[in-house]
Symmetry: C2
Subunit: 351 residues, 2 copies
């Protein structure tokens, strides 16, 4: 078994006691850091960076050195899975991801394969191996994938959307098509996460980024059963489910075979503790807090830790950090978590 110098994240995820709250940030390896932007420039494009194992590894490790986070998360994109299934995407500078081909019929689904990670996603696995070697046990490495419903949205819609109305139309209009595609994505995702773990990922996180566009009934039919399949299949390392906007499904997510539940900043910490009593929680500072003054950031971090408590808890933002955030504000967030959670007795006098 691997010996980690800092295993706070993994102990918190497993529900064990921690001497302070571990902290990391979604999108920590990214545009907030000038050092990232320099590597991105060198690579040429986002996709060239994500598919170059050496460079992807370099930007994965940057926030560990530069920000002091308690975990690295592999630099990649949730859309590598559809690409590995035979549906490539492009990244347009202002518009985000675009799929030149989309999936609209059973025949379209038949043309897709179940991803074979060692062949189709070798560049991610190689990046993970490099990161593990270079981290040399300093902090754990997080692997990740999109939840099947979120991947479905992109594959059917073909691009980002406020409403994903084409993808949602498919759910209401053609349940067979929808379930067939969701199952193929799920099978690919399980294989991919297992390969990430075999390559060295110490924890994996599922991002259901578009959970919030569904009604509770549709979420129960089209997203939860596939997340459940993944939770039941992954037993090697702790798994985190982060379903942005699925406030209505917290209780059901809390009953899945996962270790950690991620919360967005709309979800009240105290209420979430009641709804999800048996899991470690992760989150949930509003990323906009990092636009405030240093002193205001400290106030908000302290409030957050007081409501979550210092155990069974991983501090994070409630969403990915916004790209125009000042890295000094990010450092203030991270240092405040460490400071307040190490000495919670001192913090109980305010709030």
């Amino acid at each position: 078994m691997e010996l980690l110098q800092n295993d706070l994240l993994l102990r918190a995820a497993r529900g064990e006691k921690t001497e302070r709250v571990p902290v990391w940030m979604m999108r920590q390896a990214g545009r907030i850091l000038a050092e990232y932007r320099a590597v991105r420039e060198k690579a040429g494009s986002f996709i060239q960076l994500a598919t170059n194992p050496e460079l992807a590894a370099e930007v994965t490790i940057q926030p560990v050195d530069l920000l002091g986070v308690d975990a690295a998360i592999i630099f990649s994109d949730i859309l590598v899975v559809p690409e590995a299934m035979g549906l490539p995407y492009e990244m347009e500078e202002k518009r985000g991801p675009v799929f030149p081909n989309v999936v609209r019929t059973i025949a379209d689904i038949d043309r897709l394969r179940i991803a074979e990670p060692e062949r189709d996603l070798k560049y991610v696995l190689d990046a993970i191996k490099i990161v593990k070697r270079e981290l040399n046990g300093r902090v754990p490495l997080i692997g990740f994938a999109g939840a099947p419903f979120t991947i479905f949205c992109y594959m059917v819609e073909g691009r980002g959307s406020k409403t994903f109305s084409i993808a949602k139309k498919a759910l209401y209009a053609d349940a067979e098509f929808s379930h067939t595609l969701l199952q193929k994505i799920t099978d690919s995702t399980i294989a991919y996460l297992k390969a990430q773990i075999a390559a060295g990922a110490n924890l994996v996180q599922l991002f259901d980024s578009w959970a919030g566009i569904l009604s509770p009934a549709q979420y129960r039919e089209y997203s939860l059963p596939y997340i459940k399949q993944i939770c039941d299949a992954i037993f090697e390392v702790p798994l985190t489910v982060f379903a942005k906007g699925a406030f209505f499904a917290r209780q059901e997510i809390g009953q899945l075979n996962c270790s950690v539940v991620g919360l967005d900043w709309n979800m009240d910490p105290a209420e979430s503790r009641l709804l999800i009593p048996d899991k470690t929680l992760q989150g949930n500072l509003d990323p906009c807090v990092l636009y405030a003054s240093f002193s205001q950031i400290k106030v908000e971090v302290r409030k957050m830790i007081e409501t979550f408590g210092t155990q069974h808890y991983i501090a994070n933002l409630g969403h990915g950090v916004y790209p125009d955030t000042n890295p000094d504000k990010v450092r203030c967030f991270i240092e405040s978590v460490k400071e307040y959670s190490e000495s919670p007795a001192q913090t109980s006098s305010i709030g």
Copy 2:
């Protein structure tokens, strides 16, 4: 007192018994109708249409004739209030509303006035009077305004945004600025709604379209108190509060001095009845259902009515109807509500 031939909406709003469920749709006067698009073309632009009382009245009445809804809603925009306060907006074809000037300092706020509806918003009041005359009591007319926080978002940010990070930055960074601007918007909004009622509006609705970007704590500080002021000031007609995404504030909204609470499609009807026991509820079909087949629409409408029940209930979508919706599907939605809610006994055998 005005005699209405169809007062189902008002009776439902007041909590009185209705023989069937009243139904209307947010954005019913709009791009879904070819007849609307023709008038819009004639007017030249959205703003030219909205500021022309005769044409605005014409498109307000169209859905009553063409779709069979139980209420008209005045054709206008929530951004007429900032304009009346001295902050004009433009409507860009693809990008939506844009404010050439924005509000970022106390000095910017000082340059704004509290709207005087009879002078600054006369075109809306004139349109209401024309609609009332031409409707001649067939159905009630709904007036509306944006909730202060949503208007604040546009005035500070200057345009639509996924995150409204500039506006939210102001909340975290400068509480005094934020409360001062919110109060000025609130005072303008109360004057505007009272003028709409004096001109003939039978019910008014507050749209807190961006409620869902706030944390529960921020919503409690920056949105609810201003909605409360408006609810307390408007006593002449029933008032509806629709705060999209504010699932976490349903209980508090349910305790306001309002008659109706609007729900989006993420909010479970049964849970919402428990959280808001004393109000009429309005909503909440996912607008994407109207992309499904006629038979599927009927199934979903029936489910909705069975969960809400036929009393203390106004049927609507959970958001504005999407502009590319087939009007025949819209008619199917409206007719299904009427059909199933008139004979609920027949529907209790399924579901």
